[in-house]
């Protein structure tokens, strides 16, 4: 009975979302559609980080690295051969990648798998660390990925980046996969394994004394999280059409962390709502970066001013409302 009600509620939510997306897809201009796509992508990214940091309590800051892996995988796999040739004018691309041209979905999944694989490989040694040490190690990993991608000229085209990635991401891909991610997270967290993740966050000593293998569960959560981060990165690459290693700096991880913390650590609904609000606000507050004329005084524009606003909000939330702005009770 309860399940049935919930099913009806979810189904009606799903139908409403599809209808709204359909309408928005028709009426919005290109710029606004891009923001709408970003919302979907940031839902995936926010949830994937929440899985690792919020639900399992692993303080990881490696998200940008996993996104980079997903983004580059999708870009290299989907770009047609002539486009690759144009991009790689400094040094030709390695032959086995030169003529590969996959369709979008398999490439996206491959992006997720590659990121997940790296998550698994990195997780094995790194997840033996706790708290701040884990944060430092994962942060280091993300930087290593960025530096490696800057220097592997014949695979990633180095600092020049990749241009002309087929723009396959549309509202249906980004929001479709966001909905799948929401379902995935809901079912995962409802189940026994999700509860075991929660137990690890609450008290590691008690969790392992209750027979939960900390290591396998942490690696599991970390791998799932990095898979989703890879998918999100891939969607982002196919939305923007252009990527370069400098996109995947710590600031990107910070943006996602912002979504997770504002929405509430360990809250699926919170992350979804907060991803939408933050993404829209990032665009809406762009005027803060420009010069403002108040009539009597003219304020010079400061690039990155809107990030200051977000950082202040983040600080206030952490001090006054640790459970997040949007989390119930």
């Amino acid at each position: 009975m309860k399940i049935n009600n919930r099913f009806k509620k979810s189904l009606s939510m799903l139908i409403i979302t599809i209808v709204v997306l359909f309408i928005l897809n028709k009426v919005l201009d290109d710029y606004k559609l891009r923001v709408l796509n970003l919302c979907g992508i940031y839902i995936i990214l926010g949830l994937s980080m929440n899985l690792i940091n919020g639900f399992t309590g692993l303080f990881s800051l490696g998200h940008a690295g996993f996104m980079a892996i997903g983004a580059y995988t999708v870009a290299i796999l989907t770009m047609p051969a002539p486009m690759k040739e144009m991009n790689f004018f400094m040094k030709p691309i390695v032959p086995f990648l030169a003529n590969i041209e996959w369709s979008f979905f398999p490439a996206l999944m491959m992006g997720g798998v590659m990121a997940g694989l790296f998550g698994f490989l990195i997780g094995a040694p790194v997840l033996r660390l706790t708290d701040d040490y884990l944060a430092i190690a994962t942060l280091g990993f993300a930087e290593i990925i960025r530096v490696v991608f800057t220097n592997t000229q014949s695979i990633t085209n180095g600092a020049l980046g990749l241009k002309g990635i087929p723009a396959s991401t549309n509202v249906w891909w980004s929001w479709g996969l966001a909905l799948v991610t929401i379902l995935f997270m809901t079912f995962l967290m409802e189940g026994s394994y999700g509860k075991a993740f929660n137990a690890i966050r609450e008290d590691e000593i008690a969790a392992r004394s209750m027979g939960i293998n900390l290591f396998t569960h942490k690696v599991m959560s970390f791998t799932f999280g990095s898979f989703l981060a890879g998918v999100g990165g891939g969607l982002l690459a196919a939305l923007l059409g252009t990527i370069d290693p400098n996109m995947f700096r710590i600031v990107l991880t910070f943006n996602i962390l912002l979504i997770v913390v504002l929405g509430g650590l360990g809250s699926i609904k919170g992350s979804v709502v907060s991803a939408i609000i933050v993404t829209i606000a990032m665009e809406a507050l762009r005027f803060l970066d420009e010069s403002i004329n108040l009539g009597f005084v003219k304020l010079e524009g400061v690039a990155g001013m809107r990030m200051v606003i977000f950082s202040i909000i983040l600080m206030a939330v952490v001090i006054f409302r640790k459970e997040g702005l949007l989390k119930e009770n």
Binding site: G191, Y193, N198, M210
Partner: protein, 255 residues
């Protein structure tokens, strides 16, 4: 059920347990007592794999199917059937009372994580059984009405009972209770004693407990081990312990 052979645990220069020997028989309730800082909890930590002993061996199920559990990880030891509660209650505070017990079942799960996400029939069946068992255990400890509340909102005595229910959910053969009566009033203490005897019979447990309430120790333990400065100073039934000169000396000092 459990045999500890010549176990020594050193932390740097501090000897927390010194050549400790114990043999706990199946179906017994054994008490471990001693003054504060005698090393009682250290012994529990060594048995459950939190610490690896500096010397000595821990044997589970001595006899035919004996297993050397020295140095195994806590989760491996829990899977073999040794579970514990903690002196300073360690519940999953932000989770519901029911989830706390439900998580205790997780170590016996057979379905993998993908069948849990996709809710395959094998997982659903297992989950239903885990849920029924958790509810039964909550009823057993009298917390069925509070199952949806958060664990940290329970009063102290109930938190202790929840911890026992969670430990029982792991299906232990040997249950270690670290000061189960701490902070309880005389009424609650008496109820707890009945409860311990009751679960011992129902779940065919062997119980090893640390306790300061002499009423509890003398009332339910068949065998008592007395520890002082990490060494075993006396062992025997409640009557003989009460008159043992070493024990009196350890607790009250020498005249």
């Amino acid at each position: 059920m459990l045999k500890i052979e010549n176990m020594t645990m050193r932390f740097g220069g501090v000897v927390a347990a010194n050549k400790f020997n114990a043999d706990i028989e199946k179906g017994q309730i054994v008490g471990l007592i001693g003054p504060n800082g005698a090393g009682k909890t250290t012994i529990f930590n060594v048995i459950t794999g939190v610490y690896r002993p500096t010397e000595g061996k821990i044997i589970f199920n001595p006899g035919e199917e004996e297993q050397d559990i020295t140095g195994l990880r806590p989760d491996e030891i829990a899977k073999l059937g040794i579970c514990r509660t903690f002196q300073n209650i360690r519940l999953f505070k932000e989770l519901s009372v029911l989830d706390n017990v439900f998580i205790g079942n997780h170590l016996r799960i057979e379905s993998n994580v993908f069948s849990s996400i996709l809710k395959f029939p094998n997982y659903r069946k297992e989950e239903k059984m885990m849920l029924e068992k958790s509810l039964y255990l909550l009823e057993k400890v009298g917390l069925e009405d509070e199952k949806d509340g958060k664990a940290h909102s329970l009063p102290y005595g109930k938190q202790r009972r929840l911890e026992i229910a969670r430990a029982l959910a792991t299906e232990p053969k040997l249950l270690l209770l670290d000061e189960p009566a701490a902070g309880m009033n005389p009424q609650e203490t008496r109820e707890l004693m009945e409860f311990i005897k009751d679960i011992k019979d129902e779940f065919e447990l062997t119980i090893f407990l640390i306790e300061h309430h002499m009423e509890v120790v003398m009332g339910i333990c068949e065998e008592i081990l007395v520890l002082d400065h990490g060494s075993l100073i006396a062992q025997g039934d409640p009557e003989s312990i009460q008159t043992d000169s070493n024990v009196i000396e350890a607790y009250l000092g020498v005249e």
